[in-house]
Subunit: 339 residues, 2 copies
């Protein structure tokens, strides 16, 4: 499925970036998208690119409902641009020097330029979605799609706020965590599916079923992401598996462990998470506690449950067999992926 939409999505993105007039912001943007090196030379292998999950979901939802893929291209590109803009700003916020094994935009060009590169990518996302009106999307649908995307992006910011708030806390319930990821990651994934569906049909119930599918998909995706952030293979994920613990990130395994641990384990966790910096043995101790509490198994169970709920959300919608098959493959891939 990812391969099928690749060319169209790339075409949509290439219609926006580089953008005439944005001068030397174009290289940081192309670099961040994995297209060029820091000097603007086209990358030999596009290995550093992301999965393009969101635009793929948008295109798939549109095709699944018999929509015109050509009309979905600019929205799909818009979503990918909004997602990537948020990553550029996230990296500034979190002071992350690396992403996907590469130095981040701010760490090469400095914070002021990275900030503006992010702002401009966000703006190109807005513009891309509005361009849909030139591809035959009706103005009413274009407004609706813009709204879904803008509101989804606002939810993403809410999620970032919640996540920042978690940093200072040691007790976070699983429900609070699930609400946070539903906003921070889930909203844009849901939007991708919802927009694809909205472009292809006018039945609010069908679009809402797809939105719900996207919601559960987003949850499965994020919990898997959190799992991989602790127990994943560093080479496959492009992230240091230690970093989530070392950075005392309140991802699912940590939330779970802080919630469930008792006795000495609980004391250790609270002591370790109260420190500014973690030693190697701190990181090891946290991992041991997580293992003892069954955190990896519990994370996997939550992922599987969310994956099932995603599939169920589409049960009432009349869909061709190939769509059901691909839904199953997609859900399976997101729940089991190693990268």
């Amino acid at each position: 499925m990812f391969a099928r939409y690749k060319d169209l999505v790339e075409e949509g993105l290439a219609g926006m970036v580089p953008f005439p007039g944005l001068a030397d912001l174009n290289i940081p943007m192309q670099y961040h998208l994995g297209w060029t090196d820091r000097d603007g030379n086209r990358a030999a292998t596009p290995a550093s690119q992301g999965k393009a999950l969101r635009p793929t979901l948008c295109m798939f939802a549109c095709e699944a409902l018999g929509g015109d893929l050509g009309q979905a291209v600019s929205a799909a590109a818009a979503i990918e641009l909004i997602h990537n803009f948020s990553l550029i700003h996230d990296d500034i916020q979190d002071q992350d020097a690396e992403r996907r094994h590469q130095p981040t935009v701010w760490s090469i060009w400095g914070q002021p330029k990275a900030l503006v590169a992010g702002d401009s990518m966000q703006c190109l996302g807005d513009l891309s979605v509005l361009r849909g009106a030139q591809l035959g999307v009706s103005p009413a649908t274009a407004v609706r799609v813009s709204r879904i995307l803008t509101e989804g992006y606002l939810e993403m910011i809410e999620g970032q706020c919640l996540d920042l708030g978690f940093e200072a806390r040691t007790t976070i319930t699983t429900d609070e965590y699930l609400h946070m990821i539903a906003c921070k990651t889930g909203a844009l994934i849901r939007c991708s599916v919802e927009i694809g569906a909205a472009l292809a049909n006018d039945d609010p119930e069908v679009t809402s079923a797809f939105a719900s599918f996207g919601n559960y998909l987003g949850r499965a995706f994020q919990i898997r992401d959190d799992y991989l952030g602790v127990w994943g293979d560093e080479v496959a994920t492009g992230k240091s598996t230690e970093s989530d613990i070392r950075r005392r990130k309140k991802s699912f395994p940590a939330v779970f462990a802080l919630d469930r641990a008792s006795g000495g384990a609980r004391q250790d966790l609270h002591r370790i998470y109260a420190q500014e910096e973690l030693s190697d043995s701190d990181v090891e101790r946290v991992m041991t506690i997580m293992d003892e509490l069954g955190a990896p198994q519990y994370a996997n169970r939550l992922t599987s449950e969310s994956a099932e709920q995603a599939t169920l959300a589409l049960a009432a919608v009349d869909l061709p067999g190939w769509v059901r098959d691909e839904v199953d493959q997609l859900v399976d891939f997101l729940a089991r992926r190693e990268f």
Copy 2:
């Protein structure tokens, strides 16, 4: 004119900020808009607020063409939010600790939160303009208005790039400078007028005449701003008049002086602008050179010319007498203002 639209504009803004779910981002946003102190207490005097120039222009253009002011409110609020978001990010970029005699958002809440507060204000701007569709604006017009705003904002970013590029250069022509300010400040001012007109009429020539009016108005506004940044009254403007020179800002007086100076004055300027930090006597020397070259008079001439061109741009449009009178007052105010 500013007083006439004040309540409506404030109502439009209050419909967006504070925004449910944005939790502790709401206080930095309200604080930046001059509504509250840093603890979220409503400000006793709204003295720290800006002029609300852009939303006022939007409302005025709409009313001048007999449009429905109620339909312009959400667009006017959107423009003010986009403008203010850009200020929050500008302050981070420029590391400015004060704006309008108050500590800037990043200097109180830190860069990460200021970055997200800016992003969320931008998003609320996007959302506000889309909400116009609920106020009776047709979807086609809503898409058009969104596009004007998004493209204008993109031009603003282009202007920021050009401005950043100027920092490293000592030779900048007046034309290059005028192009930079046409993007950086002019675009959003032009948009304000253009959007107000687009909401009130369907004649592209009329809207384009208003856009051109906005362009010249923006130029007059910015050159006056640059003038005040060097020769203005510190108390009235809320900016330190020394700061533009001390920070070696390539505003109009500096561009003009670097372009026109010769002999010893030229050598002095190049020496001073090549330094990392300027002493009091450096600042004085620069001001003396600017005076000797007639920079203040030239800046005033350019402002007056732009103001005249602004008025001329509307000459061919059929407008009631009260509109012409208010155009004259507005142009006069922007060209002569002391704050």
